[in-house]
């Protein structure tokens, strides 16, 4: 029984991390048809921002307030990734709308540039980020220990999900975004500045990746290749869930996270990854467009 509860919690934790990393990707992929291979690097940027805030607090502020570095690093990571995402969008992505293969190649190049920049600035070895005091250790219920780190990450992800849903479905900007996604030409003729919508959406997606990077810093070491570990799962979650639908990404991440953890109970982690991929492939054979398909009335869909 303990095993099952622990596996469920671990699955929830793994799914939440995948969801956080794929939320941004779902939005940009769904809205603009841009395959952003540099998404992993925005995760890395968020993680390094956390490190920078951590160092600033450690070096310049008294020990008593040190733990609060983490609360500051979440908006800081969002902001830094938002700004860099906006710059990337203006310079590179905006010229590649609708051209998926070109955007794949171009963003791949950007990802390599960003990785090398991180290496040049921070060194090629990993940097250490210590967890804040209020997040170390775990909550002991009966025989099982639920680590505070992971509980915090689940809570943070749910909060982000709620915010994204509110923005997308309950705000003016959100309806502009959805309109542009469903029928760009019609949205433009209704006076929506689709270019502005695109930049802000891409930047928001990157900002979400930055927040994901913040959580990654708690769980392991931070180096220039940290984004590469998460990008494959993010793409899988987005494709599995159906491009453009939040609920789809949510379900997709859960499927991948839970199945990974449950399969790993019986085999080693490498085989578990292979089996999860197999599940995704079989699933996509039945429903090639993913779980939820965004239907529109455009002729070319």
């Amino acid at each position: 029984m303990n095993q099952i509860i622990l596996s469920l919690f671990n699955g929830l934790s793994a799914s939440s991390i995948i969801l956080l990393t794929s939320l941004g990707l779902a939005v940009t992929f769904g809205l603009m048809g841009v395959i952003n291979m540099a998404h992993g690097e925005f995760i890395m940027i968020g993680a390094y921002t956390t490190f920078v805030v951590h160092e600033l607090f450690r070096l310049f502020l008294p020990r008593t307030v040190f733990d609060f570095y983490y609360l500051l690093s979440i908006p800081a990571a969002f902001l830094v990734s938002f700004l860099i995402g906006m710059v990337l969008e203006k310079l590179v992505i905006s010229r590649l709308y609708g051209r998926e293969v070109d955007s794949l190649l171009a963003t791949w190049g950007v990802s390599i540039i960003l990785q090398q920049t991180a290496r040049s600035v921070f060194g090629s070895q990993g940097v250490a980020v210590t967890s804040p005091g209020f997040l170390s250790g775990g909550l002991k219920l009966g025989n099982i220990v639920f680590s505070y780190n992971r509980i915090f990450i689940v809570a943070l992800v749910l909060l982000c999900l709620l915010l994204v849903w509110l923005i997308m479905y309950r705000s003016g900007f959100g309806s502009q975004m959805r309109a542009t996604m469903q029928n760009r030409a019609m949205a433009q003729s209704l006076g929506i500045n689709s270019r502005k919508v695109d930049s802000i959406t891409f930047a928001c997606g990157s900002g979400l990746a930055g927040i994901a990077g913040c959580t990654i810093a708690l769980l392991g070491s931070v180096d220039s290749t940290v984004g590469q570990n998460y990008i494959v799962n993010s793409f899988m979650a987005v494709v599995l869930g159906g491009v453009g639908k939040l609920l789809g990404t949510f379900l997709g991440s859960n499927i991948i996270g839970f199945s990974g953890i449950f399969v790993e109970n019986f085999t080693s982690s490498s085989i578990a990854k292979a089996i999860v991929l197999l599940i995704v492939i079989v699933f996509l054979q039945k429903r090639p467009k993913g779980l939820f398909v965004v239907r529109s009335r455009a002729l070319d869909e």
């Binding site: 775990g138 070491s221 790993e264």
Partner: protein, 438 residues
């Protein structure tokens, strides 16, 4: 039509320019002109025609210098460990050059990045031997990288100095093993744990040849001691998610975890272990790939109290070590630390220099002959190179991580232990029929 042909000409010009740039862009530190012609980059792998040995005299790039190669992972998951090893090698080279060089020649190092990928190691090793024409190479950490380059060094009859502890089952004539063989690190550690009263062992490692072979040896030894192995798990090299493995560990209820994880996954594992309120008091771990460098990145508070097994620590007593640590910190920063592989790499450069002086030449066969039986004053103490298997006789030291981030010796063997890479002198190993996996 005119515009079309103009576009075509422009495209060809740009392509030609890009190819020229790609050929010209080499790797870092290529100082002297290579004797090969420019476009060697792309054609390297294909040009593996004739593995005859090159005369090493051609490695003297210009009058009065000798080229050596440094082949380590400067990026990727192993960079956290290997960068400090490369630094120790650079320190030794600088010191030897300041004292007059080797045979009157100044050593010129050529660094290559293996990028934590064995196939990249193979390519770069061949590049160093064939294109850069180095006299010898100091490099590798993971056994997969060493296995990947072993054949290359044997085919080209060059020499690799390998500074890291490993799983044994190997004695290549073209590799000098400066790190511990299993009977100088793993076997004594298990004996020590058994003496301390640990009975249930959980084996956790990264999924490649070193942990798999080490675990074969450990399982045979544990059985021979009458104790039990309660679990054996392998993680991917860059794995960051350890929740399932931790769940399996909790279920198996071991006394001690034998940890052969390598690289950045150690950081994730120990962080997530501490998240579960597990310290060394609740569950002891004995690690074979965690040295002072990794302690710094993981965090001394998380690792304090855990055990490691090496032949050298920064805190090891001795004048040679004190001088080494002092120069290392002077050159690289007061907060840098030395570790067993860094010490072994430093020893390797000095050993090569002394062997060349004794041989009077840089020729690989002569250097090897001179190295057999050579005694080198190393930071870990005086070591002797064994001429039969190219390993070193070393003292074994069990250490415990302290809260200040350094490792302190809690047990050491009385004298040096002779290297036995194939474990032929251990009856339980011979009976278990332990064979190399690759």
């Amino acid at each position: 039509m005119k515009i079309k042909s103009a576009k075509k000409a422009l495209a060809m010009l740009v392509t030609g320019g890009l190819l020229a740039m790609a050929a010209g862009c080499g790797n870092q530190r290529i100082q002297a002109d290579s004797t090969q012609t420019g476009s060697a980059q792309v054609g390297d792998m294909a040009s593996q025609t004739d593995p005859e040995s090159k005369t090493v005299e051609s490695s003297l790039a210009t009058e009065g210098t000798v080229k050596v190669g440094l082949l380590h992972s400067l990026t990727g998951s192993m960079a956290i460990s290997e960068v400090s090893v490369r630094d120790a090698e650079l320190l030794a080279i600088e010191e030897i050059n300041a004292a007059g060089g080797v045979l009157g020649c100044q050593i010129v190092p050529f660094e290559e990045d293996g990028a934590s990928d064995p196939s990249v190691f193979a390519t770069k090793a061949e590049k160093l031997i064939v294109e850069t024409e180095v006299a010898t190479v100091f490099g590798c950490w993971t056994s997969s990288s060493r296995k990947a380059v072993k054949q290359i060094f044997e085919d080209y009859e060059s020499l690799l100095w390998y500074p890291v502890q490993y799983e044994g089952m190997e004695a290549s004539p073209n590799i000098m093993y400066m790190g511990a063989a299993p009977n100088q690190q793993i076997v004594p550690a298990i004996d020590y744990l058994a003496d301390q009263g640990y009975t249930k062992f959980f084996l956790l490692g990264s999924d490649y040849v070193f942990p798999r072979t080490a675990n074969m040896i450990i399982k045979a030894q544990v059985e021979d001691l009458g104790l039990t192995t309660v679990g054996e798990e392998y993680a991917a090299m860059d794995q960051t998610e350890f929740s399932s493995i931790l769940a399996k560990i909790e279920e198996a209820q071991p006394d001690v975890i034998i940890n052969t994880l390598n690289g950045a996954s150690n950081v994730s594992f120990f962080k997530q272990l501490s998240e579960k309120n597990i310290t060394s008091k609740e569950l002891m771990t004995m690690s074979f790939s965690i040295a002072e460098e990794e302690v710094k990145t993981i965090g001394a508070d998380i690792l304090s109290g855990h055990l490691v097994s090496w032949n050298y620590y920064q805190t090891t007593e001795g004048d040679r070590n004190a001088a080494f640590v002092k120069s290392y910190k002077e050159k690289f920063g007061a907060d840098r630390v030395t570790s067993d592989p860094a010490g072994a790499a430093y020893t390797a450069v000095y050993a090569w220099a002394e062997a060349c002086e004794a041989a009077g030449s840089f020729d690989v066969e002569a250097v090897k002959a001179a190295a057999a039986g050579l005694m080198v004053a190393a930071p870990e103490g005086d070591v002797v190179i064994n001429g039969d298997n190219q390993h070193l006789a070393k003292t074994v030291r069990i250490g415990q991580v302290a809260t200040d981030g350094l490792i302190y010796e809690i047990y050491a063997t009385d004298g040096v232990v002779e290297p036995d890479p194939y474990l032929t002198s251990y009856e339980w190993a011979v009976q278990a029929g332990i064979q190399p996996l690759e």
